[in-house]
């Protein structure tokens, strides 16, 4: 725990920074920050499948959509209060992930990617064509948040609270024996199976947990993938960093050109070809070089800093 607090002291600084942010920037940037938080949570939950399981899920937007529609429909049609809606949306996304995951975890690699893509498209078409229930491509209008959330600042704090809570919960899942088992499966599924672990069941649980956290919050399925890749899939906070870079870049670039896909396409191409670990990977690599130099000069502190 001591090492934990030593290594992650900067998180406290980030959190304090996030708390004072609305006091120092204008309303536009508060909206950008809300976007960063929501999409960042979405990307971190996507990375539970990509980073932990080593599988590329193209259907992750489906849970995001199911969660959003569950909240929206409950509020518009049944006037259920917001906190209950949010809990219900998690359950809805979790159930959805349970059903889809039951089939998806039977496959790996390319087949996993295609099946999640097919399921994602299926849900997309159902939601957009079931006009009487979801109002199709008109979208759900008239979702009125409780009075206090009208203000950007309050909405920001509400989002920050929810996202922080979800991140802490996911962090604990990640650092639990379950999280280690998942990473063992990623590295070598056969060996993990040999020591008596039901790989499929673990993958399914992981799938459901990841789906539930995505449901908390309809976008193109690519977004969490891009954020994760830019930030770095191997660290827990990589996707969050990716979300910050992606959202800022988008707010900046779309200001003067409509060719956003071209820009992000080139960025992704650059990252895949020259920066395989993402921004976080680059930082860690540089830190490693720095640390090893540090070790050479001091020579005796290998026990504490050696592992990373």
């Amino acid at each position: 725990m001591e090492i934990l607090t030593k290594r992650y002291w900067w998180l406290g600084l980030v959190f304090i920074g996030a708390l004072v942010l609305p006091l120092v920037v204008g309303e536009f940037w508060v909206h950008v920050a809300i976007e960063i938080l929501i999409l960042g949570l979405f990307a971190v939950s996507f990375n539970m499948i990509f980073g932990n399981m080593g599988q590329l899920s193209f259907g992750h937007a489906a849970y995001y959509g199911v969660g959003a529609y569950a909240t929206g429909l409950l509020m518009v049609r049944a006037s259920v209060p917001l906190p209950i809606c949010l809990a219900a949306s998690m359950v809805a996304a979790g159930i959805c992930a349970l059903i889809l995951g039951y089939f998806c975890v039977r496959l790996t690699g390319i087949y996993f990617a295609i099946l999640t893509l097919a399921f994602g498209q299926l849900l997309y078409y159902i939601i957009f064509q079931w006009y009487s229930f979801t109002r199709g491509d008109d979208g759900l209008q008239g979702i009125i948040p409780p009075g206090a959330l009208f203000s950007a600042t309050y909405y920001y704090y509400f989002t920050l609270f929810i996202v922080t809570g979800a991140l802490i919960a996911m962090w604990y899942v990640n650092e639990s024996p379950f999280g280690y088992t998942m990473r063992a499966i990623r590295e070598n599924a056969d060996r993990t199976r040999f020591i008596g672990i039901n790989v499929r069941r673990y993958m399914l649980i992981n799938f459901v947990v990841a789906g539930m956290f995505a449901g908390r919050n309809w976008h193109q399925s690519g977004i969490p993938v891009f954020m994760t890749v830019i930030g770095g899939p191997l660290g827990f906070f990589g996707p969050m960093i990716g979300s910050i870079i992606y959202t800022f870049l988008m707010a900046f670039v779309t200001g003067f050109t409509e060719y956003w896909p071209l820009t992000i396409g080139l960025v992704i191409m650059f990252v895949v070809l020259f920066l395989p670990g993402g921004v976080l990977g680059l930082v860690e690599q540089k830190m490693k070089v720095f640390r090893s130099r540090d070790l050479e000069t001091r020579g005796d502190r290998s026990a504490e800093t050696g592992s990373s």
Partner: protein, 296 residues
């Protein structure tokens, strides 16, 4: 509902299926040999359609315009495929699957915007030459003559590919590379050159398909054409089985016909039905109808 409508609909389904075959066969070949799933395949197909339009536009006062534009566009696409393979794909041979998928997905985004920059967003229309315009009659049932042209191109390519893979020396090498690239490499055959050749061939067929598709209706980027078509081509390859030419042909015809007939009976459900069929096949028989089971 009379017979002629059913026959006409099945012809339109067959024509759609052959178009999907042209796209999916290259996709399947590239995946089978190089183990790379090319998300950008349908984007390149669309680029082929736009090139066909541009060539036709230059020669529109001549009757032969379209007939010359189609092979020209396919050749241009083969050249583009060569550049993409040498500059980009070659760098990720040894990488993991998600990185390869991301690279080709980034190409989808880049190509989509490059099309917008080059050809604009308005629809492009090619006027068909009289030979393939209007209906032809068989036993009093009208067929769109262009559909017959599309179907025959599809069958020619299918037979050509079959002949290439089964009867020529290079085809044997390609099939051997699917089976064991180490062994092929050990026999002194340069694997990168085989990969480049296969990629160029796949993109050439995609470009040909795009050029042939161009005069069917208007060419447009709308409705996310590139992604919609590539996902359907994935479905075809999954249903037929990766690496099986016959499977790709049968899968294309199934998807084309399912689409054509559900348009008739349940218009909104056409794509939903195709995704359900694909999901079921993936779950019960992931190697597809004609593929061979592999280690999952």
């Amino acid at each position: 509902m009379d017979v002629s409508l059913l026959v006409a609909q099945s012809m339109s389904g067959l024509s759609r299926g052959m178009m999907l075959f042209l796209i999916a066969s290259g996709l399947s070949l590239i995946f089978g040999v190089m183990n790379i799933l090319n998300f950008a395949h349908a984007s390149l197909w669309l680029v082929g359609a736009y090139f066909c339009y541009s060539f036709w536009h230059l020669m529109q006062n001549h009757g032969f315009g379209m007939w010359v534009s189609i092979p020209l566009a396919a050749l241009v696409l083969a050249a583009i495929g060569w550049v993409i393979e040498v500059v980009l794909i070659r760098r990720v041979y040894e990488r993991e699957l998600p990185e390869q998928l991301l690279l080709t997905y980034a190409m989808v985004l880049i190509l989509g915007d490059l099309i917008k920059l080059t050809w604009g967003v308005e629809d492009k229309i090619i006027v068909r030459p009289p030979l393939v315009d209007g209906p032809v009659f068989f036993y009093g049932i009208p067929f769109d003559s262009y559909f017959i042209f599309v179907i025959s191109i599809g069958f020619f390519v299918a037979i050509g590919l079959w002949w290439f893979l089964k009867k020529t020396k290079y085809g044997h090498i390609v099939r051997a590379a699917v089976f064991s690239r180490e062994m092929v490499s050990a026999l002194g055959i340069p694997i990168p050159r085989i990969y480049t050749g296969v990629f160029v061939l796949g993109i050439f067929i995609a470009g040909l398909a795009g050029a042939v598709q161009a005069p069917v209706g208007s060419i447009t980027l709308g409705m996310d054409m590139d992604m919609a078509i590539v996902v359907q081509a994935f479905c075809v390859v999954v249903i037929g089985g990766f690496g099986s030419l016959l499977g790709t042909l049968v899968g294309s015809i199934i998807v084309g016909e399912v689409y054509a007939f559900s348009i008739l009976f349940w218009p909104q459900g056409a794509l939903v039905l195709i995704f359900i069929v694909t999901a079921v096949i993936l779950i019960v028989r992931p190697w597809g109808l004609f593929g061979t089971p592999m280690r999952v």
